[in-house]
Symmetry: D2
Subunit: 352 residues, 4 copies
């Protein structure tokens, strides 16, 4: 058996952290060598996520206590809050210049420092690293990711919107000025912070939109949509919270360009993704359900005709913690470390 | 105390039937004189809905067994499946020509027989009654409803879409050719029929669209939107099922016309509904949650600015079984029988 | 119309506070004169519970800012955290000696100061008031409550366990040494505090016991069971959390005494509650569901035979926020102020 | 690579059928050669469970259409309804006498034909096979299972109750006449049949007991508990339905015998299961949650002291579709075919 890569997970007490661990514990080429969780340092992983009780794992430590040079890790996943990440990544690379990093935060996703400052309200703390970071949407940037040292793992909403829309923009098949994305997410997308608005009794048995008109994920969409279209694209995007744990469904309203019908759009997507292991395009007219990708790294995409002439409705579904976060991060790791892209990601959806 | 009106509920074993009973049992001017449920005839209401066990109620009987002339009812609610209703209403009015009827099915909502035949695939069975039926969206047709003998209670999705959109169309404040309605409903909207697709394990913990591009509710929207705009309007409309019991949230994407901003649209709605007891417009920029109207007859509406120039996002929330069905039906009854419009409908939302 | 009683709700930003308001806003003899919420002082009720947006309500103020003598309230409900309550009640009664108080916390439920100290780990701060407090289980202490100035509203779990068990103990129909109470509660029972363990993603789609072997509610059960039996009774009690908002189901395992069968136990309960407005005993062999009492002040009780000889299974269901807290509190208020006991509590369960 | 075993799944359109497929598709020594689903014959697996859309699978066929001799399968899983199974298994073994079978129904679990007839109301249709069937609780009957041709996979409730209770009975550590099992199950335990009582709106947001006093699973418990104790044991057992998809939690009330304390009971269980791959005993005083075993083949067991002297509370949790059905069935297959016992069953729980 080949030697195993030594891996660290920073932020192991959050949902994307535990999801990384779920996947990596069954990855045949990986050894979990480091788990950090600042507020829970000193505890065992089983204290913060009891499902890991049967496993032998390193104890949770604080980031500060790690000697990065000594740790001799091959790759670390950063599953830390926004802004913190910039400092931590900088510190790691100073101490261990050859470390590979997959960052699950939003910190390195915007290649334009001005855009970053505008959306986040402060200057970027590591602009020299931001320059080198590769945007980790595998299906679009596979080649660059293989060579990258620092990969910015895309957001969950934006992955769900980009996979169906980018090929349509590249093919100039849709009007870039008439894209409406109505996205619905499960609650794990909001993270594990103890906030009143996330309590069971506040969010079960109900539905609502949030961040209407001004959600930060838009910055990422603007950047990638504009790149794909070769011109500026500003889409309408509304996020909603659904009373479920996992899953994002994006219902996307588009207008065919130059006579392109819904069937044409379907064909563009079906061809683009014919050989992709983690994107599955349903037969024309069928649309996906989030539950059928739950726990898996799959994205399901469907296209249907609208009765309004020229318009089509594209629906995409993925699991926000897997393809929308930790699964895509492992996919990035596989490319960066030269492993088969699907390794450790073969889990079939858990439904029901 | 004034004498009480004698009321019948046809289809008392379904969700809209039980919801009518929940409301009417506490209505001070009403006496429940008849409950029908064909497949459960001979049983007690408590056998089909145990929450009514503490109440003294007439037994469930079959529709066929009712002598309409003898029953001397003042008004009946029809909560029966589509098509059945046409025959039943005809039979009732033949036997008891002065009976008032509020019909909760879709059977009498389309005033154009051709539209009915096109959407439902068969000729209407009582076209002479359809002509006399009044569309029961109280906030729009209040005056006509007072005089009506037969009221067609609007659908749940369409009520949630019409209340925010109709005033905007009437005011010519939005582009009628660029309306996108993304609607999300709780599971009670699908009724109580035992179907695999409605099982708990099939619909909990997930989210999906259905009837994409071709949902029957569109017929009703087309009719009323076109009336309001004074020209043909065909909106894009996509229904979704959310893993919750009650509630519809409609996220509506519109384009302001002739320089109208989101703030202008908000003002139109705020003025329109300033004195309506069951429509509440939130402060500009705030959007509603379905849970805050659960179990009540309220509709909450919010308007926010989109970052795409000229566009606004309007969000409406109601309880599909109350304002979207049985509550609105009681509101119609109150008008038809000369009771105060809010009588029996004062319940405050049950949250959490 | 009679004059209305002036009422205050202390702790209006919690779930029992909002539930009190839901009920009292529709109570014909009550005027809401005061709402406190220390951390939200200065805000409007609609900011903490948007369902109240359509209503005209006093602003939220801090308890400290209230001049009790000047306020001239007839009665206040205390929906405050444990221990805080003792101080607040003392202060109120010092300033306004004729004020009536219904306390929803656990602070005045234990009549024995030693028991209090043992279970709560500190001396009671107002033992002189504890002496005068009446335990507010209406069905047992109705007469004393009418005369009480300070009523200690029972806990939700304990109400659900006492209503079925106390009559059986009083009738000496069951073995007091073999009572096992397995109780399941919805999440609102845990309150509105922002704690990780109460997040949607932590509690949906799963089930667990907590406080196994040592839950504080036991103190209340011990006191009342022992009183009813005329000897010391220590029951086994295990609380569980179910992924739902409202409802407690108590499955209670008992052994008939001196040849008493399950049918005999059923008869005891049926007779005891024949005329009670808020306790309904189902036909023998049927057992209740929490959803059928949701939002109502009802308790449903069922009794079934076990196949183990001499044993019976008693199942009780109530809504923890209504009969288990705020509804029972209003029932107490009605007695204390001489209103009809059921006034404002007629809501029928919201199911589905 | 070793040759793969050819496997059939009978009843692939139900939940245990699809769960078998989820596990077996990732089992390195298995090839899916046959999928039956009588009512869906002619369809593809993706039509009944869309999560399998990305996979190449044999079409669904009817059982009747299978030529068992020709099929040359190594093993079939029967995930068919009660009674049907007896006929099908008989027919298979007549046509293919060396076939190995794991049956997930209740048909072959009771070794005593009289007990079968008493609980199921009719004579067993294949008593000669029932004699040869081995009860498939791996942790108890591992040796016999290796040699078995026909294994009766245990029920979900009974697996959850037997794993904690049997070692205690064998060790004579608890009173066999005072066992109370209060069990709570997710909705998938009720299967995929379209019944009103299983609709989302009927079971979400509520909790109830069913089959109180007379549930068929008791027969299996009686048989195995009595074997373990060496005398007749009749336990009290009450099943409940919780509003969640997966998981069983059994709260078990026992009385220590001859001075055995809760700590002693914990020690018995900890020792018994120290080396079992799929049973994990938590530290004394901790109790498990179903969500932490969701999707995995693990059983978590906890023991806590009751404050009632001599009594202990044992809590066990498993996923009813995995260790309670299909996972345990694969575990049985692994033993029967000589594969490592944990092969294909390494999935870690999906939480959140």
């Amino acid at each position: 058996m080949a030697t195993k890569a030594k891996i660290g997970i920073l932020g192991a007490s959050g949902y994307t952290g535990s999801e990384l661990l779920r996947l990596l514990l069954r990855h045949p080429r990986v050894e979990i060598a480091l788990l950090t969780a600042d507020r829970r340092a000193g505890q065992a992983m089983r204290d913060v996520f009891p499902q890991f009780a049967p496993f032998d794992l390193p104890p949770l430590v604080s980031i500060e206590s790690v000697d990065w040079a000594e740790a001799k890790l091959d790759l670390v996943f950063c599953a830390l809050p926004h802004a913190t990440t910039q400092k931590v990544v900088k510190a790691i690379l100073n101490a261990a210049p050859s470390m590979r990093i997959v960052d699950l935060s939003a910190d390195f996703r915007l290649s334009d420092p001005a855009a970053y400052a505008r959306w986040y309200g402060h200057e970027h703390l590591a602009p020299e690293l931001q320059e080198k970071a590769v945007y980790g949407l595998v299906e679009v940037y596979r080649r660059a990711i293989r060579e990258a040292q620092l990969v910015a793992n895309p957001g969950c909403y934006t992955t769900c919107a980009q996979l169906p829309v980018i090929p349509l923009l590249k093919a100039k098949a849709i009007d870039p000025d008439a894209i409406v994305i109505d996205a619905k997410s499960g609650m794990t997308g909001a993270g594990r912070a103890a906030r009143e608005a996330m309590l069971f009794s506040e969010v079960s048995e109900g539905f609502h939109a949030y961040g209407v008109g001004h959600h930060r994920h838009m910055a990422e969409l603007d950047q990638e949509f504009s790149k794909a279209a070769g011109r500026e694209v500003i889409a309408t995007f509304t996020p909603h919270l659904a009373p479920m744990n996992r899953g994002i469904l994006a219902t996307i309203y588009v207008r065919g360009r130059r006579g392109k019908t819904a069937e044409d759009l379907h064909e563009v997507l079906a061809k683009t993704y014919a050989k992709e292991p983690f994107v599955h395009v349903l037969p024309f007219g069928e649309t996906p359900q989030t539950r059928h990708v739950r726990g898996s790294n799959m994205t399901f995409i469907g296209v249907a005709r609208d009765r309004v002439p020229d318009r089509a409705i594209v629906v995409a579904a993925l699991d926000n913690l897997v393809k929308g976060a930790s699964g895509q991060a492992v996919q990035n790791m596989n490319l960066m470390l030269g492993f088969p892209e699907t390794m450790g990601l073969e889990q079939i959806a858990l439904f029901p």
